[in-house]
Subunit: 410 residues, 2 copies
């Protein structure tokens, strides 16, 4: 039997508890959707104001040099690198996760020119699959995306697979894939491994280098707290750099963009995966989020995250027995930082929770996702979320008609 | 003989003069680089602060619905449309100019499947050429980019040309292409016309609809004043919508992105040219810039722009006779809103001007560009720029060694 006092004690003993003050979160809100949109770091508004008023407004075009705008995508990449086990020069912040997937799938197919299959799983996030569909359709000539169940990925590594594309933490179930094992299996089959870290970077310790992963992408607006639609990142293992010819060959990826040559020559380093002019305001927002993470031990984050997902599962079972199906793995070591509950009326339950100032999100057709962000989620928040969920389920409030009306996004 | 009093009088009589107060421009700066990075609208910092603190910080994930984030790319497109002669639903704000070029070249080649040539000119901006190079190289099978001199575009429209890709205002010379004529010639040859409006949108009246142009892209951070690296826009003529299959098939372009289907189905409308999650903070910056333009008559902007480029040319000839070669057309009707001067030591002259608080920019190997933004450039600024340029040239100050040191960007 877990009590509110247990949760208070856990907060009091939490070595990361002080970090919550570094965020601006409404006092009356229990925000459990940092896996979809990370909360606002307290430093961000001031930082953005400075970038806007001083760097843009006052220094204007000169800021490309004087404030280092021109190198910002690489500088942020280098700042992000330790969070994902990458080295300097292996990570770049640019564009969206979708566009970055295209860039790296394009590279992967060039690095394995005799192979025509991209292998992924039906649990992957749709945009990953869509980008692979667009790319292979465009190429024609037998290129294709093959989808299998996520537990069949290892066996499906046939000799035609150029690259395996997996999201490390499944966006629905929260299941954590074994990066080291799948990467090793891919390499044994002569394929490359491309990891999507959107639901792991910043909350799960990731060791791209230690796993010898080839390529990776990830999202800036979830656990990196970069703001809505923040720029994404990409990783190219040092051994694959300087190879291939980027199909998205924009001027910022040119060896010497300001020579304004007529012919594209890719930069020799990670910069070749830039494309258009970098979005400075959005990058500045992400920089503020990354700074917060730089000072925190990833092991402490992971330990708190595992404790919190365990706590929530226990509370749901204790307070709402038999209400939900646990979609996430039972074992915390096999989960990312979310707990997914299945319920036939999941959408309405989410609306009822939102009406009671608890914010999870919904994933069609029947999954309620609760995300736990160790930088700002308190154990008492989790207690309170369990209480309100229980009240909604016991009273039948979730059956009210107004909770059944669908919005475009939840 | 033009005098300072003439310029003062022109400011006093300028119907757009009051708009300068809508911008935050340092008092001691003569900023003639709005064609590279537009100035900061006075409303932008407050707007951004609201988006950041209230929409992101307080309303968090709910803002996708409650603040209409999910439709922001289309809403901004509809707001931008009248500036370029487009209709509702024909314009979208998304990604970068480079990425948008790829999307629309991809569409053009699908709309003309038997043709394999992209035709452009050596005066086009490099990223336009680079993106076409990347695309055609990727496609192989005889696809190629053919480059001719800009005055040879009409004759070069051979039967293999699928699309002609032209930047309406040449970034070096400021020369204004005849959109109606070139589009007509392209259509007569069975080709499509794709226009890059980066140096014209917001400062030259553009009539995509009246010219029956097929496709267009443009930049948000020049005359639209959207901030450094602001999102770009794209235009697809209504008659081409719902056709083709976007190769950059990201989830926001899906017909029903929040159904999370495994297979990509493009949205039936302009949304199919979205790709990843929209960058909300950057979009908000551009929205503030667009609002400023919405209230202004484009004809007044063009008239002032032509007067100002004429004025600058006259002043340069009057104050610095025989110093420079005029790279831009003599006739204002053939120019965009910039004046380009050739000088063998152009880079050093630009550095000397910057040291004296006059900001033009430099384009390799020998071009000094002066941009005139009718929303905030005063005639007296132009007078003063002429005076300082003249002093630098007469004193030989531009020959100082410190002005010869190259930065990465100018």
């Amino acid at each position: 039997m877990i009590t509110l006092d247990d949760c208070r004690r856990a907060d009091a003993e939490d070595p990361l508890a002080g970090l919550r003050e570094q965020f601006s979160i409404p006092a009356d809100l229990i925000y459990l959707d940092g896996n979809s949109l990370g909360a606002l770091p307290a430093r961000t508004p001031g930082r953005m104001d400075d970038i806007i008023r001083r760097q843009w407004g006052t220094d204007l075009i000169r800021s490309w040099n004087t404030h280092g705008w021109v190198d910002l995508p690489q500088r942020l990449g280098d700042r992000l690198a330790p969070l994902v086990g990458a080295g300097a020069g292996e990570v770049l912040v640019a564009d969206s996760t979708s566009i970055n997937l295209f860039k790296l799938l394009d590279l992967a197919l060039q690095l394995r020119p005799k192979r025509r299959t991209i292998l992924s799983d039906t649990g992957n996030f749709p945009t990953d699959l869509y980008m692979a569909q667009g790319l292979t359709r465009f190429l024609g000539r037998g290129y294709s995306l093959r989808l299998v169940e996520e537990n069949e990925l290892g066996e499906a590594l046939s000799p035609d697979v150029a690259v395996i594309m997996v999201t490390q933490v499944n966006y629905r179930s929260g299941r954590l894939h074994d990066m080291a094992r799948l990467t090793r299996l891919a390499h044994q089959a002569g394929a490359l491994a491309l990891w999507d870290l959107s639901h792991s970077a910043g909350v799960v310790p990731v060791d791209l280098g230690g796993c010898d992963a080839d390529l990776a992408v990830g999202c800036g607006y979830k656990y990196l707290n970069g703001g809505p639609g923040a720029p994404a990142f990409l990783y190219v293992n040092q051994r694959h750099q300087g190879k291939g010819f980027p199909t998205l060959s924009g001027w910022f990826g040119h060896q010497t963009p300001f020579d304004f040559n007529l012919a594209y020559t890719p930069a020799p380093d990670i910069r070749r995966f830039l494309c258009g002019t970098p979005p400075i305001l959005s990058l500045a927002g992400l920089e503020a989020g990354l700074e917060l993470l730089s000072s925190v031990d990833m092991k402490l984050i992971r330990r708190k995250s595992m404790n919190q997902t365990d706590l929530f599962i226990h509370l749901v079972r204790q307070e709402c027995p038999d209400c939900f199906q646990l979609i996430s793995p039972e074992n915390a070591a096999e989960r990312g930082s979310q707990v997914s509950l299945g319920h036939p009326a999941g959408y309405a339950v989410v609306q009822a929770l939102i009406a009671h100032q608890v914010i999870p999100d919904f994933r069609s057709p029947d999954i309620i996702r609760f995300g736990f962000a160790p930088l700002y989620t308190r154990h008492t928040d989790i207690w309170e979320a369990g209480q309100r969920l229980s009240a909604i389920m016991r009273s039948g409030e979730w059956e009210r008609p107004e909770y059944q009306v669908r919005h475009s996004v939840t």
